[in-house]
Symmetry: C2
Subunit: 454 residues, 2 copies
Amino acid sequence: MFYRSLLFPDLRMTLDANDDDGLREFCEALHPAVVAEVIDELEPAELWRVLVSCDAELQAEIFGFFEPRLQIAIVDVADRKRLSRLIEEMAPDDRVDVLELLDDEQVESLLPLMAQAERTDIRKLLSYPDGSAGSIMTTEYASLPEEITVSEALDELRIQAPDSETIYYIYILDEGRRLDGIVSLRELIQAKRTATLSEIMHRDVISVRVDDDEEYVARELARYDFLAIPVVDNLHRLVGIVTLDDALDVLEEEATEDAQMQAAIQPLDESYMTTPFFVLAQKRGVWLVILLAAAFLTAWVMQGYEELQRSYVWMAAFIPLVLASGGNAGSQSATLIIREMATSEMDYRDKYFIVMRELRMALTLGAALMALSFGVAICMVPLAEAIVVAVTVFIMVIFGTTAGALLPILFKRLGMDPALMSNPLIAALVDVLGVIIYFSTAIALLGPVAKAVE
Amino acid sequence: MFYRSLLFPDLRMTLDANDDDGLREFCEALHPAVVAEVIDELEPAELWRVLVSCDAELQAEIFGFFEPRLQIAIVDVADRKRLSRLIEEMAPDDRVDVLELLDDEQVESLLPLMAQAERTDIRKLLSYPDGSAGSIMTTEYASLPEEITVSEALDELRIQAPDSETIYYIYILDEGRRLDGIVSLRELIQAKRTATLSEIMHRDVISVRVDDDEEYVARELARYDFLAIPVVDNLHRLVGIVTLDDALDVLEEEATEDAQMQAAIQPLDESYMTTPFFVLAQKRGVWLVILLAAAFLTAWVMQGYEELQRSYVWMAAFIPLVLASGGNAGSQSATLIIREMATSEMDYRDKYFIVMRELRMALTLGAALMALSFGVAICMVPLAEAIVVAVTVFIMVIFGTTAGALLPILFKRLGMDPALMSNPLIAALVDVLGVIIYFSTAIALLGPVAKAVE
């Protein structure tokens, strides 16, 4: 963003002067990520003019840094021949992401212009379901047979390098393309040049399966501090690799998605800035309507206590307080547990530990807030009423914390995303029962009608 | 977690049999990350026995995968000599993280046992402030002078490899250790063996400064899809590198911290599972108390309307509803904007765009919820009262959305973490003004007392 204001005027002038050499120089001088940021405010047709001034490889690199929306817009204005060339040049995982954005007609108009090998690769990658390891892996990895020497391997890597996403891990395959071992380029550089790969390779290769969840794959990569992790099919044949930079993107997206769900927003497919207004309004509105419905349920429950309220008018003043104390305690529990479930695997014992710990926490925090509430309330209302408020706060904190801890675990158990149990939703559920708890406590401690009508 | 139950019994037996060779074999057979997970439930003294069965390098690797709390516990039981050897073997960035956990006395008992070079390196890294690039960088990078050939460079890398965190990027330094260029090992492998590094290196090196914020550094790494980014001092001398796996850890921690702050929890220093109970209770309790204080403010404001409430008893039923509609809309805004600020840099224009967009969103969502509220409320209360509820919902959504959008931006402007503006805090602030809005609307539309006392 910082670069944009600095470089944009220069680009504008070069474009207006129809200076194609100038445009190429502009693109070549900067990192493709920076070029993409500077030019992304141009009209798609102008943007395409900038791109075609470079060679196809650089075009593909810059194009890969655009937001999906912009990529679609460029596809609409680009000529098929040059565009198919650009897409051929993209990394297999990135280009499949682009093709998945297009409609079938567009894909079918582009595929015939590409080489047979690329087409096969694309069709194969397109077949893996969204969210699987297959959908984020690339097929461009370096592989060698185990019988060659280190020296031969280094020569062979020179040939494979231009077509590999990384050559820092080399996968050793048998004749059936089954994954037999792995050796890092670092180890290769350090090894005796005459050693064979079978002598230096690691045979216990940590791999993931092509249908594993992308988030699990990303966490495995992060856990072992790998640069890439091999992806195998059910015959243990190597079908691709997932690199650390893609894993990082997956984890970042997942964190953003969880943050949105926690705040009762349907996850956005793109960034906040590029999501169209009405898509955003809908993804927020849906949940606001659901929460409004829950709030009307609370209102309806409260109407049932109208006689009591007429008798105990003082009670209304503390309704926001008792409800918030339950909702806030619940948000804390739910957020901690949802994030813990997202970032680490949990077994039965861990969940038991969490539930027990939250119960103890509920009692501790509930007691503390009850004492404080009593201390403040006694300055505002008579003793009996202060007791009703304090006792309700105690019950609400326990109830909110328990709901916040159990509901996400329950949701996960049911095979749903625990983050669906958003904080506002927990608060809304706590509210409904909260008013019942509040009024029941009042009835229990003060009786169903005020003894002396004031 | 899955491995633990499978492998733990085997380990237990080996330990009980005092079979040191067996322990060593156990550690060598598995990835250090897995070993760390399996053994982390042993008592520190037993754990140390497992560790010392391996050579110092493997000890250091396994030790690096433990949680900070466990590292401290092991330091307490380990003998100084072996421990100092283990720490010497750790990567410079990791070992500084460990030393930062210890008290000065412990550090001073360990340092004299280490080699002079390591000591100097440690003291230097310890001097960088927490949260800076310096605090997460490693000093073990591969560097070469520009005049040597590719072939010489490959030989030299064999020597540097064991002491470098990565050899996949090679930094080209002048005599004053100033950063002149960069070449990747991939490019080195592909280059003619007789070329000099000055011919193939990139001279426009993207770097960060040693006092840059760690989160900024992590985002830069992710943005350019680098494996590592060089860290320079103010004379442009190379002082270290930050690798992608460390960047990923920083971003994950940051996301966890933001999620906690959003739910009104003081950020935890360790994971939920390992944070001691009373530390956790305190980090949650502090905010619950602040929110309780805000809620008492709301109660106090409401007490001021007691006469009105006596006259309009029906109003109480809708208090949770009107307050929640403001709070929920505010949570959505705040969450979207805080995450957007965390994941991308924003200039003045972006902020203007966001504020304008949120105002429009507030009107749109407010109008929709007003219509819906009216539709439901009219089935529950007379027309005039339904209008009061619907109009209040409209104002509350606008007010909540605006507060949710503006407060994080304002906090950032004041140099504070925008995530401090947690969703419960926004809701609490909205509540205070919400009751005023609700009662004022009622007075405006229905008059200060009910016309016909029911």
